[in-house]
């Protein structure tokens, strides 16, 4: 484990220095004297956080009547716990960011207030400006509860130089798209021959989110679905479930990808140009560009025959306020509309813009390598809709605990499928804790 650690370190140092320089340019905490403060919570830090900070500063400079004050809380469980507590307490911030797949869990208990479509339309935001999968992920009970900023899929980054040397690029210079597990593994072996080490970086150890992202991509590539009906039993295709796990074990064999790689390790490995491909979220793209990797990006090849891209969205929500300040809320709408219109900058951080005017902007088409995976917008798969799914949820941590052993050992796939079924059924048989009386 030691050589990449050094890389990681140097690389961390470099990006921190860059961040430090940025830190001094912006970030005043208070706005103009008579501006209304709009409290905005988000969970972005690192590359995404810096981009978001820049966007906020820009909009604050543009408007004198309001001032957006961002608060960053630790990603995942701590963030979501605090957000529910704030919503329950009724003195929540005006605006917050959530993963779209988590929204269904927040609606039933009244932790979120719905968006007013008219107020959005006044500011140039309406349904036809979003792709269908994105809009659908924002609607719960026929009400709009979230406004998506982006879709951030789980994709394949690749090192152009290494993949070219391995003959893994097609005539256009893009990564080949093998459509069977064997072909994909074969391609990886050729890349491994070039690096003299491993072919692929994929960090998953102890990280349910990372396991779920790849697993659900592979699972959906079988052309099957998964659904969790409240009060019923989990419906999923057992064969696809097992073969996806099997494939994950095949790549994590120590030769194609590290047997027990953590997410940090995988990042350091690919940033250190020791592998050709990196299965990761789009948000790592800037990191790799900054680290000087000749990086390109594509959707994960249709390994099981169909195109499918796991994704979630960063979405804006209105946490519940018992006595909302209409003026501040109005400013929050304006702020969101501005951010959407500026989301080309956000796309620079790797995310696919949700707002179609930006997605269809010729400037976005020229933004490389982002445009190379823009097609993903049509193949997005979100988590099965349920109150307990979504990025950073307990469900996903539990998933990691259930299948982690099987992925590492290559053993007990069936037992893992049984355990998964049992676990989800147990959750489904209980009432939604946000509103136990609903069913």
């Amino acid at each position: 484990m030691s050589p990449p650690l050094v890389n990681r370190r140097q690389f961390l140092g470099g990006s921190l220095a860059a961040a430090g320089a940025l830190a001094f340019t912006g970030c005043a905490q208070t706005g103009p004297a008579n501006a209304t403060t709009v409290q905005f919570w988000h969970l972005l830090s690192g590359g995404d956080g810096i981009t978001m900070e820049g966007l906020i500063d820009g909009i604050n400079a543009q408007y004198s009547e309001f001032f957006v004050r961002p608060t960053v809380l630790a990603w995942g469980t701590p963030y979501y716990t605090k957000l529910s507590m704030a919503g329950a307490g009724g003195r929540a911030p005006e605006l917050a960011m959530m993963h779209a797949a988590r929204v269904p869990g927040y609606v039933p208990g009244g932790l979120l207030d719905p968006w007013d479509l008219e107020m959005l339309a006044e500011r140039g935001v309406s349904e036809e400006m979003f792709t269908a999968p994105v809009w659908e992920s924002s609607v719960v009970d026929n009400q709009l509860y979230s406004v998506a900023l982006d879709a951030h899929p789980f994709i394949a980054l690749y090192n152009r130089d290494i993949c070219e040397a391995a003959g893994a690029l097609d005539s256009d210079g893009h990564l080949q798209r093998p459509d069977s597990p064997d072909d994909f593994l074969e391609m990886c072996r050729e890349i491994a021959a070039v690096t003299g080490g491993r072919a692929l970086s994929y960090g998953f150890l102890g990280d349910g989110n990372q396991m779920w992202r790849l697993f659900y991509t592979l699972y959906c590539q079988h052309g099957v679905e998964m659904s969790f009906p409240q009060g019923g039993t989990a419906e999923f295709d057992r064969e696809a479930f097992v073969s996806s796990l099997e494939f994950m074990h095949q790549i994590a064999d120590g030769e194609i990808a590290a047997r027990q790689g953590t997410i940090d390790y995988a990042i350091a490995e690919f940033a250190g140009q020791q592998t050709g491909i990196h299965f990761t979220g789009v948000w790592e793209l800037p990191t790799m560009q900054e680290a000087g990797v000749p990086v390109d990006a594509t959707m994960i090849p249709p390994i099981f025959g169909n195109e499918a891209v796991y994704a979630d969205s960063h979405s804006f929500v209105l946490p519940h306020q018992s006595e909302p300040d209409d003026e501040a809320r109005g400013h929050a709408y304006t702020f969101v509309a501005e951010l959407l219109k500026n989301s080309l900058t956000w796309a620079g951080a790797g995310h696919i813009p949700a707002y179609r005017p930006v997605l269809e902007d010729p400037e976005y088409a020229e933004l490389l390598p982002q445009a190379n995976y823009a097609d993903a917008a049509d193949y997005l798969v979100y988590d099965p809709t349920a109150w307990f799914t979504g990025s950073g949820s307990n469900f996903i941590q539990d998933f990691g605990q259930i299948v982690g052993g099987a992925i590492v050992s290559g053993d007990g796939y069936d037992a893992a499928a049984d355990a998964f079924q049992e676990h989800v059924d147990a959750i489904l048989s209980r009432a939604n804790p946000a509103n136990p009386e609903e069913g």
Partner: protein, 320 residues
């Protein structure tokens, strides 16, 4: 004048142990009623807060634990003992109880031994008393978040001082807080560093209470330093050790702050203490009813340990 006299006869030096004087005549009756009112005026602010923020939650929690109350305000239907039956068959309840007890065991021993050694060394009267006290006791005054940040930094798997030191000795780096079973040990190390100063001061006070005469007498009898340690010092530390063990066990069972903070909001099945599971069930999982049930299981655990300690204590006293 008579009022005061009547009242004086009613109080005595320790009012709570002296029975009320048998008042005679209407004046005494009025005086007594007035005294009651005065007493209640003194008590009222504290009792109001006490009832509002201790007694009421304590009782209301029992009711909540029998409902499906949600953090969101929804739910609240009475469901009997369902939460308790679920909790008793919830593996996480058991693993978190196990973690809590395990932490109590592995933290109490070093917390007492280190404190004792520190106190013995400081009590030799070596120069620099204020410095020793500062070094050993100051960490105890820091907020849990402060010590957690410091130790998370030391335990950082890639940049932390702990692994740097290991590597100097050619030992493979350890993911201190990211490895199951090791995480709770790392939390224990930080805790010992943090809280040992409290026990140290209790021991130091006890040591300085041992009359010098005893040592002088022993020295006259020709007892050396080690003899004195084992025949005079340690036996006399018995009572304070009992106090330290009791306080320490009760404190360790309430583990939450540093365990929650050092795991950075995450949790592992080998480090999550029971209090953290109350937090997770109630606030992350919204299940106030269920979390209340776990709270009472936790409360029961504390009471059981308390009763156990009292029995051991009284048996020891009887044996004397």
């Amino acid at each position: 004048m008579t009022d005061v006299a009547a009242e004086r006869s009613a109080i005595g030096p320790r009012a709570d142990v002296v029975p009320e004087a048998p008042g005679t005549g209407p004046t005494a009756k009025v005086a007594r009623r007035r005294n009651q009112l005065i007493a209640w005026a003194f008590l009222a602010p504290f009792m109001a807060a006490f009832v509002l923020f201790v007694i009421w939650p304590l009782m209301h929690g029992v009711y909540l634990s029998m409902t499906d109350q949600s953090l969101t305000g929804a739910g609240g239907r009475f469901i009997g003992l369902q939460n308790y039956t679920e909790a008793l068959s919830d593996p996480v309840v058991w693993s978190s109880i196990r973690n809590t007890v395990w932490f109590t065991v592995i933290s109490t021993v070093p917390l007492i031994l280190f404190a004792l050694v520190m106190a013995l060394l400081v009590n030799t009267g070596l120069p620099g008393q204020w410095l020793w006290r500062l070094a050993f006791f100051m960490p105890f005054l820091l907020a849990s978040t402060v010590i957690s940040q410091i130790w998370m930094w030391i335990f950082n798997p890639e940049l932390g001082a702990a692994n740097e030191i290991l590597q100097r000795f050619g030992i493979e780096p350890i993911a201190w807080l990211q490895t199951e079973h090791i995480d709770i040990i790392s939390i224990t190390i930080a805790t010992v560093w943090w809280t040992v100063g409290f026990n140290f001061l209790l021991y130091l006070a006890a040591l300085q209470n041992i009359p010098d005469l005893q040592y002088e007498a022993a020295a006259v009898d020709g007892a050396g330093r080690w003899r004195q340690l084992f025949s005079i010092t340690l036996p006399q530390l018995g009572p304070v050790t009992v106090v330290v063990v009791i306080l320490q066990m009760l404190a360790s069972l309430k583990l939450f702050d540093q365990a929650y903070q050092m795991m950075d909001g995450g949790s592992s099945d080998t480090s999550r203490p029971i209090v953290q599971y109350i937090f997770e069930a109630g606030f992350t999982g919204y299940r106030f009813g269920y979390a209340s049930a776990i709270s009472y299981i936790f409360f029961a655990l504390i009471v059981i340990v308390g009763i156990f300690q009292m029995t051991v204590l009284s048996r020891r006293r009887e044996n004397r």
